[in-house]
């Protein structure tokens, strides 16, 4: 499965929750599949989906899911020790590991070579790290949200993208709408 197929499958699981979504195609795909006020779309700042979602999870009680990418986690590897050492049960980090920088044309990342993000997360001190194959993600994700224990999910899947328009919504509108949903 490719990322857009995965997002289509897990959209109903994500829907009731606060979601911070990675820059580029992941956000464009989620926006196309199930745009709603509980989604925070990143329009830039590659690498910070986990940090933004984690800050949000620490600041309030609702469950938060950060959708991240292997390339983005590699660019902000420092996030994993921070998350591990300040764990909060309402946070789930979902790393879509397609082994490539998908949004920029599927250039290979080191996560698709010798580097194993599951082991990296564990070595950083994350306690619940689950590696899962794309087709099995739904049950694992639902269990992670229900468990009320912070979980890092590394979802192995294929590289590949669909053609989509960019998100034209104003960032302040995205943020305002999202903050209203956080409060609601």
């Amino acid at each position: 499965m490719i990322r857009s197929e995965i997002l289509k499958e897990i959209a109903p699981i994500l829907n009731p929750h606060l979601v911070v979504c990675n820059i580029g195609l992941p956000s464009q795909e989620l926006h196309m599949i199930d745009d709603n006020e509980r989604n925070f779309y990143m329009l830039g700042t590659m690498g910070l989906s986990s940090s933004i979602g984690f800050g949000l999870a620490l600041a309030q009680d609702k469950p938060v899911i950060s959708i991240d990418g292997d390339g983005s986690v590699l660019t902000n590897l420092g996030t994993l020790p921070t998350i591990a050492n300040n764990a909060t049960g309402n946070f789930t980090l979902l790393i879509i590991d397609n082994g490539s920088y998908g949004s920029t044309g599927d250039q290979p990342t080191y996560a698709g070579m010798k580097t194993n993000l599951t082991n990296v997360a564990r070595a950083c001190g994350c306690e619940n790290v689950v590696e899962v194959q794309d087709k099995d993600l739904g049950t694992v994700l639902q269990a992670a949200i229900d468990s009320e224990e912070m979980t890092i999910i590394v979802c192995k899947c294929d590289s590949g993208n669909i053609k989509l328009p960019v998100i034209t919504m104003d960032p302040v509108v995205i943020r305002h709408r999202f903050m209203e949903a956080v409060k609601g």
Partner: protein, 168 residues
């Protein structure tokens, strides 16, 4: 007046309850003070752009954030300041040790000091420079200003402000 206590008192009085830090020798005292206060959740970050991501999330979660870092971090965070903090219009007080200024003992620090104000100006980031101990009196107003306008705001604090380096 104890500067560390005054800064953290002002943070608390302005309802800042989420603070991320990356250490600098000059900031050791204020970081220690942040860490012991019950009203503040202190989360050290590994890199300052990561810290700004945490602050963005905390702000959207209803908390007032702040970051404490060294001026060299301006070189690390320009993309984040532009595409996250400014683009989504979020407030962020940045308490910055201004290394490489008067009374600096480490030559390398000067290399970023000479770019610091130019970079902040290029980003249209409101910037205040604390050089004398008394300048800290402005801090409360700067915090109010930051949360009024929803912008990142820089408070540069140089070695003279912190009382120099003693024997170094």
């Amino acid at each position: 007046m104890n500067i560390d206590k005054k800064i953290v008192d002002d943070l608390v009085a302005n309802d800042v309850s989420f603070v991320t830090t990356v250490p600098c020798k000059q900031l050791a005292g204020v970081i220690e003070e942040v860490d012991v206060r019950e009203d503040i959740f202190h989360i050290p970050s590994n890199k300052e752009d990561e810290g700004m991501g945490l602050c963005a999330g905390a702000f959207m979660g209803g908390k007032r954030p702040a970051i404490i870092m060294q001026n060299t971090a301006i070189g690390v965070t320009i993309n984040t300041l532009a595409t996250l903090t400014q683009f989504y219009r979020m407030p962020l007080p940045m308490i910055i040790s201004y290394r490489g200024e008067l009374r600096e003992p480490v030559a390398c620090q000067v290399e970023m000091a000479v770019h610091t104000k130019a970079l902040l100006a290029q980003l249209n980031i409101p910037t205040y420079h604390f050089h004398w101990k008394d300048d800290v009196k402005e801090f409360d107003n700067i915090l109010k200003y930051t949360f009024m306008c929803n912008k990142p705001v820089a408070i540069l604090t140089d070695a003279n402000f912190w009382g120099g380096y003693g024997d170094q």
